[in-house]
Symmetry: C2
Subunit: 333 residues, 2 copies
């Protein structure tokens, strides 16, 4: 069943059928109804490939995500797909993992699918080494590329993110002022946002005149690794009374560590997570966490994309403010 069949059955030309398909105003109401009812009766579905050929696009967006099984990224994917679909776009998902080559391949794949734009989810994309960003910049020359939780100065990328630097600076300062004067920071990966978090932490402690030495540590995503790491740090004689992490999983590892060592939370040690994922309420005690407004960022990203498609003007960078969600692992008033 194609446009020719429909045109015959409706007694019109294929151009008219096509116009109906594309909501053209240049069809009389009578004809439109006729054509639509023929389509309905024959449960006709236009062929996307043919339309894509003719139109040069078929309203699909590529979502490049490091790991959609990560609870935070999974939420991002969910919000994005939902909002895109509401705007008439569908989503091709591609999970890259954390290897550069795999990311590049996935990007190539999405570009070859002629997606109208590409959204990068997971701040792990913008890395320290500039050459690791090239494939993103190149993609940006072909289609609009949106970064969630990332930013690249002076690039043609569109960025929606949260002010993680400020957020971490703020909690760290508050903890310091409250007597938790010996904090450490655990992070997962030095992505753009990871870097911001770390810098926020460092700024706060340096303002208090603390030595940053041995206060910042990279951890694997596995909870047991986090526990092991903290155990060995502790057993080597190192002491600390606050742990600020770059995501909630790490913070839960920290909680497990503290409980196992008999440290009291939050009196003896404060713990702050990041992302304010559902996990924050699953653990015990429930986790104080920085909410970085993921849903808002995703909605904004999709809105921006639509404006770009409409050739409206658009900011290259939009930054939201995080919010500290206080629970039981800290004793802020």
């Amino acid at each position: 069943m194609n446009i020719y069949d429909i045109s015959k059955k409706a007694g019109v030309s294929i151009a008219t059928v096509s116009r109906v398909l594309n909501d053209s105003p240049r069809v009389s109401e009578k004809t439109r109804d006729k054509v639509l009812s023929v389509m309905e009766q024959n449960s006709y579905t236009p062929n996307v490939y043919a339309r894509g050929l003719g139109l040069g696009s078929m309203n699909t967006i590529g979502i490049l995500c490091a790991d959609s099984s990560d609870i935070y990224l999974a939420n991002a994917v969910y919000y994005l797909e939902r909002d895109l679909r509401q705007h008439g776009y569908s989503s091709i998902l591609c999970c890259t993992g954390y290897e550069l080559e795999s990311k590049q391949n996935c990007m190539k794949l999405l570009l070859s699918k002629r997606t109208d734009a590409i959204i990068l989810v997971g701040s792990t994309f913008i890395e320290k080494r500039a050459e690791h960003n090239n494939y993103i910049l190149e993609a940006g020359m072909e289609v609009p590329v949106m970064l969630i939780n990332g930013y690249l100065e002076g690039s043609n990328l569109y960025c929606s993110l949260c002010d993680e630097h400020q957020a971490v600076y703020d909690v760290t300062s508050r903890l310091l002022n409250q007597g938790f004067d010996n904090p450490i920071h655990l992070y997962r990966a030095l992505s753009y946002s990871g870097l911001q978090k770390k810098e926020g932490f460092l700024q706060a402690i340096s303002e208090k005149g603390l030595n940053p030495q041995d206060r910042v540590h990279e951890c694997s995503g596995d909870m047991d690794d986090v526990i092991d790491f903290l155990d060995s740090l502790y057993d080597s004689g190192k002491r600390f009374n606050a742990i600020i992490t770059s995501n909630d999983e790490l913070a839960i590892g920290a909680i497990k560590f503290a409980r196992a060592k008999g440290l009291r939370i939050p009196e003896g040690i404060s713990i702050v997570g990041h992302n304010n994922s559902k996990l924050a309420r699953y653990c015990e005690p429930e986790l104080t966490s920085i909410d970085n407004k993921l849903e808002m960022i995703c909605i904004h990203t999709v809105t921006t994309l639509m404006r770009i498609f409409d050739n409206k003007n658009v900011a290259n960078k939009t930054m939201f403010s995080a919010e500290l969600i206080k629970r039981q692992t800290t004793s802020f008033n």
Copy 2:
């Protein structure tokens, strides 16, 4: 840059270029190399829409998922996308939510995208009312439809699932034999697998001669609702010493409830989750949970799909065995 440009630059016909594109053996090695290098130099990417038109397909699979922000379903989506991509297929994701109409619309959307198959993730798809399954069966007439964690007797759907009935029957029986003689079951939704879990529970308790009355309860997915529900059940005088749930989130709600009431886990009350998600280790005490082999099911689903595409013969239903992962909310030996 299209196939004509390439053919000119390589000094061959478009048919030859197309053959190179399609890995046809009917091209000499010399010509193939020549064409490939011209493509490379001009960084040519074949147009998916044109290829899709000519070939009638472009190796894309639709993934219909109730809610990809659900930690269990997010994992399924992750495994599926990964395995599909390894086999040269890309994935269009569509999150339906739990409303029938929305599910139907998403299915239509995916079919209109001419996906080569559709995978339904989230057992919520096969419901009690037969008419709610019609849209799935109709889709099954057009393309292969695979069900993850679902089954529909006598249909043309391909199903990969885990024997949840047996799994729940087994733990429930073990708990009963261990003296936890007053169990209740909480479930999220009466999907196919939800039904299996419930039936497994009921069979176990009826074999022990217990009254099933008031032992099985539907809960919302929200943790606070679960806690509230159990609170009011408890406050109304109802007592129980084992809670078997249909997912880990519910079980964590149960843990929170038990701790708040001062019930001792696992001596006073045993709690068993389902899915063995990461969550099971985040809570306190860590949760005993039924592992229903999601990764294996997903891999099997993709393999099955590839066999279908190759016209190899394939089982309509494949069932795996679950495994009980013992942690701290039960005291099995």
